[in-house]
Symmetry: D2
Subunit: 244 residues, 4 copies
């Protein structure tokens, strides 16, 4: 508890290199902005990794040293190697936290862990998103007001094809008429997963205070916790079976 939480911020890092509109908001990449505001929090150590590094920057060594992995991807989900997805999934089941941001809803790792299509409705129309706190006692909502607004957002709307969240922390209202489960917690194996939808690359959403508060809270919530790693397989009885 008193120890540092080691966070790896993973980013596809394509938009920022090729699209001036995105680069204007994130000149060094979304991952750098996210890593910086997390690094400024007490008890959090960050590093980054990106798609085009060797093994996507996610060697087994890196994963083994990661307490919480943050994932941002959009254009190139299919370029992520299945072997990396296998390793990340196993680490989550073994207790690593995973925070999937925005368009990571269609990443291989998120759909793999959900088991569903994870599709949704969307629209880019610079419209207002109002994020309501659904679970005011949840640690991921620490320090927030009853709701906050994202002035310009990409609409992500229901039906969002996910399993029912284990905790539903945020619900978003959109100007154009939709609602969305924008902050969803899952427990899978020993690991905790948080999906948080605001974060379209053409807006400076990761510079917004409330967004940073949520992601910081989510890191602490998703940090490894719990009992001994479960063991599986053929086991002798714990009680005498005599007289069976």
């Amino acid at each position: 508890m008193a120890e540092e939480v080691c966070v790896t911020v993973w980013n596809e890092f394509r938009h920022e290199r090729y699209e001036p509109e995105v680069r204007a908001h994130y000149p060094h990449g979304i991952h750098v902005v996210v890593a910086e505001f997390l690094q400024a929090l007490p008890g959090i150590e960050t590093q980054t990794a990106t798609l085009d590094e060797r093994e996507h920057g996610l060697t087994q060594e890196v994963l083994d040293a990661t307490d919480v992995l943050i994932w941002w991807g959009h254009l190139a989900h299919n370029e992520v190697e299945d072997s990396t997805v296998d390793q990340v999934q196993q680490r989550v089941l073994d207790g690593m936290g995973l925070i999937c941001l925005h368009s990571a809803h269609l990443s291989k790792i998120f759909t793999r862990l959900m088991g569903t299509g994870c599709n949704l409705r969307w629209r880019e129309a610079d419209e207002r998103e109002r994020v309501w706190v659904m679970d005011p006692g949840h640690p991921i909502a620490n320090g927030l007001d009853e709701f906050f607004e994202v002035p310009e957002s990409e609409m992500y709307g229901e039906r969002f094809d996910i399993p029912v969240p284990d905790d539903l922390v945020f619900l978003s209202w959109f100007q154009g008429g939709e609602v969305f489960r924008s902050g969803c917690c899952y427990r899978r194996g020993k690991g905790k997963i948080f999906y948080f939808s605001p974060g379209h690359e053409t807006y400076g959403i990761y510079h917004q205070r409330e967004i940073q508060v949520v992601i910081g809270n989510a890191v602490r919530w998703a940090a490894p916790a719990g009992s001994a790693r479960p063991t599986f397989g053929n086991r002798g009885p714990l009680e005498r079976l005599a007289g069976n």
Copy 2:
């Protein structure tokens, strides 16, 4: 509602062909016994399919005509083609019910839909399993007493590496000292999934009255229901965005 529920009972059908002890209980295969007791219920039509048929007996045509698919597999999970798993998963997301029995916890289709390892502890020791009803108002428990016993059962014990069930209908007690979430409901996409653990091939468990009651109830619960199939993708606003 008044229409027939079309059930396809799928079986790996290997044990029964090669192991006399299993054949003694299920001379024509587990699938035939399950299909027969379901067929005897009003409003249910059954057919069977097995691993060694062409496309495992699960062509797109068969799947499209199936309301509820029952799955029993054990030795040969890996022989099921990924293309079949893809098709079954899609049909579940589109509303087909799926009932996974006993060792199907490690089938490709179940682990795919769960997103976790689905592993557990097990022991073959002919011990008593007492199945407790956890949700006495659940339709899958219709007609049961507060608990029932399986006189000789394979132990399946926690930790069972599954997502938290949407409904937990049964909890099992084992003589040797373990507990197990033996009846678990999931909603995935438009589809409903029920996992039910009793059913080891060397015991005549599918001949037991209570087991047949549970599977019959589960078929009715898992039959397709609900609203229009959700649509996804880029969508115009439902409300005027003027003044945005």
Copy 3:
């Protein structure tokens, strides 16, 4: 299953007697409109009961013969006798379904069964409510499209101080900027509870087709089901404790 579901529609029945605007929509009371459209469905038998009848029309005899109780109240929650609330709660725990409509969120019976304050934000501004299906495979959503609209509705908005629903069927969007969990399922004891929020008395909402579809579906979902009534108290062991 093939038997009739006996529904008692309970109404406070005050607004309709004293307010012309309400009487215009429901000249004989909301309960009569609800009972009539339910009565028209196959397999449903209805009767009504109102606050100002003896024992509020809910004698033990009436309750014992009721499979599903529908509750509409607003002005006079406190006039409902605690003894009636006790009896209704016990019947729910014993398996009777309960459907609480609109302002029944603050009824004694609903807050008693929830254990929370059940408060919310509200506004009467004739604004549009768009009701989104959150669980497209849920039987209460049978026959609906992906969403439907209530052209003029009272706003009920989050934070809604309820326990996390066992199933969340509907989520509403409001023109003025709020979201609301408008269709919530709970299992309590052997009974099933459905809360459905659209239904303000100054609009003709219970005349709308989709609203009637939802309530009809909810009646079937909430009808008694399940295993034997649980027994409690001091019990001898089911297994030998020798050698303990």
Copy 4:
């Protein structure tokens, strides 16, 4: 987070005064033992309160200064004043944690917050209870092995008439043939509630290391967290309603 968690341990404190068998385990009362092992943990401050003190030791002042309230009661649930129950319930909804131990399942405050009967099967037969971790990543399971045993325990068995827990942390196996949801989490309002069943007064269960670990973890989990206190009632629109 860095601040102290203020815990009030409430005990009925009757058994220990009148029954030598109980006094042998808890000469100064169960509350003193629980307070002492919690006080030894970093970041936790404890005080105690008992039934026979003025206002049961739970004045509004005491409650307002309490982050987490622990409750042990058995013989005298009915002697707790309703006004105290009202105050405790409101504090829970406002964010205070509540940990209900063993026979507190029938306390006024627990049944009030659950909305159900909270009854169960029980037996005093000095039998072994094996407590299995159901949710190995849950913070309440921190530091435990896959299961632990209570050598002599009172059996508490299903059907336990509670709402489906928001998190199910522990499941118990009993020698005599029953299972029990022995560690259950609920979120109600802004508050968190944990029910933990081991703890019969005639055994020295609260002296057992694992039991102390669980209660210590539960205190940290239940400590107040989250967003601003929700506000309710009549509210103006957040968006323009022109053109409505």
